[in-house]
Amino acid sequence: MRERITFVQKEGDSIEPTALKVDGNGLKGPEVKAVREDRLTFALDELPAELKALLEGVNQLHIRWVSPVAYEAVSPLLARLPPGFHLFYTPGGDTSINPCPLLNKAFGTDSCSSPSESFTTLPTDRFTHSTTHQFYQPLPSLKAFTTFAKSLLCPPGSPSSCSSRLTSLNSASQLDLSYDTISHTLRLTSLWPYAPQSLSASLLSPSIRTEIGIISTASPKTLEPHEIGISGLLTVLGQSTAPSPTLFSFPSRHRDSSSSFHAHFLPPTGLHPVLQLTISSPNPPSKSPTKDTCRLHGYFTLPKSIFPDRHQLNDPLFLASKNLSSVRYITPGIDLEAPEYVTTPWGSSLLLELSPPSTTTTTGKAWTAEIPLHLRYLSPSLTGYRTAEVPYPALFWACTAEEGTKFPSNPFEKDKVGYDGLFGERTVFWHLNPTPADGKLVNTVKVPVLDLEKAGWVGAVTGGVVVLGFAWVVVKLLGVVLSSGKRVEEGKKKQ
């Protein structure tokens, strides 16, 4: 087991080494504004039996949880996903293994029943680095997970720091759990938003190697355009008594485009809501060395209550009228008719290429794009309405780095974010910052449903009306039969 704790300040912010107190048990420093990232790495043998048994049977398992509360990201920790609980999964040899029960227990998810029912398949023919299956569910908080983790990691009698560190997960903005058969390790990474906090970290246990870094991005003169520079202080608890300064750089896939966007549904939403994205600028990221290759994309994960119709999104004229250019990926096999309550797959993901207005005429002006969506019928309620929650998409400019550019894995890399598997190896994602007016990265739609309060008489009255209508027609038919009988007799009399 290893631990790494990183405080990331913004470019230009730094801290004097003398302000930090380091001893064998921890580090103490002043309060600064920073992002905090904690990463714990477990070997398989260090895991509880139930989890170990599950992981031994899978090939890849990546959980990405993102808070619905808008947060500010700081370079290099820029990768974004729609808020909620994401699972990217590749089964091992035994495909009957079902990770759902353990996931539901650990995270409080409820729509995961089995891979064959709840998961959707991802294309693996395009790029080999993606997983084969995807699952998603809106999940506003990690409360269930912290409770689960406490019961597992902090047995009675363990120090209060164990429980309090896990409790702090409730204010995290991201949580990643990654396992693959190649590394045979489980990595748990949590990220807290950019906020004032005291630079303090303590050793969990003497047997755990704990590395602490206080860093910020830097721009040394030797920096290549596709690289990010990092400067700061590093220390390994128990090994050194003073942090040592460091400066290094690496190519990064996730960058900041310095544009922003927000999303909302156009009223009235009806059963075919249109999600409007308002984007602050039509210009590709100015810092990208390969601006001409940049295309603006939106990556959506849509719970099953709402879905895109890929046939509707096929027509170039229609797409152009919404400032969209093409569908790059859509979950195949989405049922276009079934109600939500009989649909078993979690929903669908959608990767759209957007079409910004030409930059010569509207330089720097905000513009909009519209995503037409469709609601399924939801189950009846006592008010006649239900709400569907639709997470914000991740918006980014995907630019192709110059030929020959390599992206070796870097210490802050975040992969398996859904859309990265749909692009080539040389793609750089320049993210747009979501800025919702209410601070929530989720839009809600009011969905009209059957009002159960008024439904008491539906069966009886429907049946009654049908019987009446039927009886009326039968009476008329009887009239026909009787009158023709009469006519036959009249005919006989005449003869």
Binding site: P268, K454, V458, G459, V473, G479, V481
Partner: protein, 444 residues
């Protein structure tokens, strides 16, 4: 100056005796050409307008179903199954018929023409249905009057729109009309082939089988049309049954069943289970209850969402009972021998009205038969009554559409009571109209 009608029947009183030059309307119906030419031009204009709208507006003229058919045809042209296209729920024959739409030449104008060839086919089917309609009508009236009634179909904007938007319902129109014509012409083999094929194509024409068989008694089928000398009334049930089993009835039954089975076996051999699932089984298991005109709609939504199926009594489980009783047994028995076209109209009307799913496309199923009944209808004899019925039918639909609009586009929860009551109201109006139609048959 009017030509004597070919059948030698007196001219209907509706046509005023010509004084001086014949009126434009009279000349229009005198010969077939003007009517069919204008019906064709009418559709051509719709078709070209549709192409223009599709090319210039994000709101498409072309029906979404046409994209389903043509996608399926493309799969077929690539040697794949048409059922690769989701929501393709039709016989593969339709995709085969539309194979030219998948043809790509590289020339833009030619490609658009090829892609639209399916709509042309549907529009031609409309015209042929109208022509057969005229031929059936002409059995009981002169040519111009028959053409006048055929106009209700041929120059009907709703019919022309539906076929040029690329909906295949027009093909059903021509099949059903050809079936009726073949039966009235006593062409039993042809009728059997058409019946078997129609049922394979869209299931619902099976309701015509009992009516046609009931109608085909010896009296109707005797070639010399003179009344046969009254044979003594059969006494024992066995003789009754033996008398019922006429050669014509047996021939129709065997040929139609053989056609239907042969087509299905062939399709199953080619496309296996997806063919059965999408074309037939889907209709049994479907849970697609997005709001539609059916009176059962609200109840279906309600019961499909309840957690424990089969615990409570479900009215919709019995929905097929009134529907099939009326459309396959009671209406044919009471009316088919009096007027086969009117019986078929009433059966179709009952089938659509009592169906678990009902959309406006289904109205086309009975609209093609309507001109055959109208000449003898009380709706036309008492103009005010007819107008009132039409207004009522449209208003009931309008009320439903208004509630549907509020739900679909404004997001108001109008399921209860608005949409539900509107669908029950529309159902009531339809039942009343059905009763009037049946009453009219009784008067004949």
């Amino acid at each position: 100056m009017t030509k004597p009608s070919p059948t030698g029947q007196p001219r209907p009183p509706a046509t005023p005796p010509s004084q001086g030059a014949p009126s434009l309307v009279t000349t229009f119906f005198d010969r077939p050409l003007p009517l069919y030419l204008s019906a064709a031009i009418f559709r051509l204009v719709f078709l070209l307008y549709g192409l223009w709208q599709d090319a210039n507006s994000p709101v498409k003229y072309t029906d979404i179903d046409y994209l389903v058919f043509t996608d399926a045809a493309r799969f077929v042209s690539q040697g794949q199954s048409p059922y690769e296209r989701e929501t393709y729920r039709y016989t593969p024959v339709l995709a085969w018929l539309l194979l030219p739409t998948a043809h790509v030449t590289g020339n833009r104008i030619l490609d658009v023409a090829f892609f639209s060839s399916g709509k042309v086919l549907f529009a031609i089917a409309d015209l042929v249905a109208g022509w057969l309609l005229e031929k059936v009508l002409a059995k009981s009236m002169d040519g111009p009057r028959a053409r006048k009634f055929a106009t209700i179909w041929l120059l009907n904007p709703m019919v022309a729109t539906i076929s040029t938007r690329g909906s295949s319902e027009g093909l059903l129109g021509v099949l059903v009309m050809a079936l009726l014509w073949a039966v009235l012409e006593r062409r039993v083999t042809l009728a059997g082939l058409l019946l078997g094929f129609s049922v394979h194509f869209k299931i619902y024409p099976f309701i015509y089988a009992p009516a046609i068989i009931w109608w085909m008694d010896n009296e109707k089928m005797s070639p010399n049309k003179t009344k046969p000398t009254k044979s003594p009334q059969p006494t024992s049930p066995t003789t009754k049954i033996l008398n019922f089993l006429t050669p014509a009835r047996l021939q129709l039954t065997i040929i139609s069943l053989a056609t239907f089975s042969a087509l299905n076996i062939a399709m199953y051999l080619i496309y296996a289970h997806p063919f059965l699932q999408e074309t037939y089984l889907h209709h049994i298991t479907r849970l697609d209850h997005r709001h539609n005109f059916s009176p059962y709609n609200t109840q279906l939504y309600l019961s499909s969402s309840l957690p424990h199926p089969s615990t409570a009594f479900r009215i919709e489980k019995l929905a097929f009972l009134p529907q099939l009783l009326l459309s396959t047994i009671l209406i044919p028995l009471a009316t088919a021998k009096k007027s086969l076209p009117a019986s078929m109209l009433a059966q179709t009307f009952a089938f659509v009205t009592f169906n678990k799913v009902c959309t406006s496309q289904y109205f086309l199923w009975y609209m093609v038969l309507l001109p055959l009944y109208l000449p003898q209808s009380s709706f036309l004899r008492h103009k005010r009554f007819g107008l009132a019925a039409l207004v009522l039918w449209v208003a009931a639909q309008g009320a439903w559409l208004q509630q549907g609009f509020e739900l679909e586009f404004l997001g108001n929860s109008t399921f209860l009571p608005g949409l539900w009551l509107a669908s029950l109201g529309f159902f009531g109006v339809n039942c009343w109209i059905l009763g009037v139609i049946i009453g009219d048959v009784g008067r004949q």
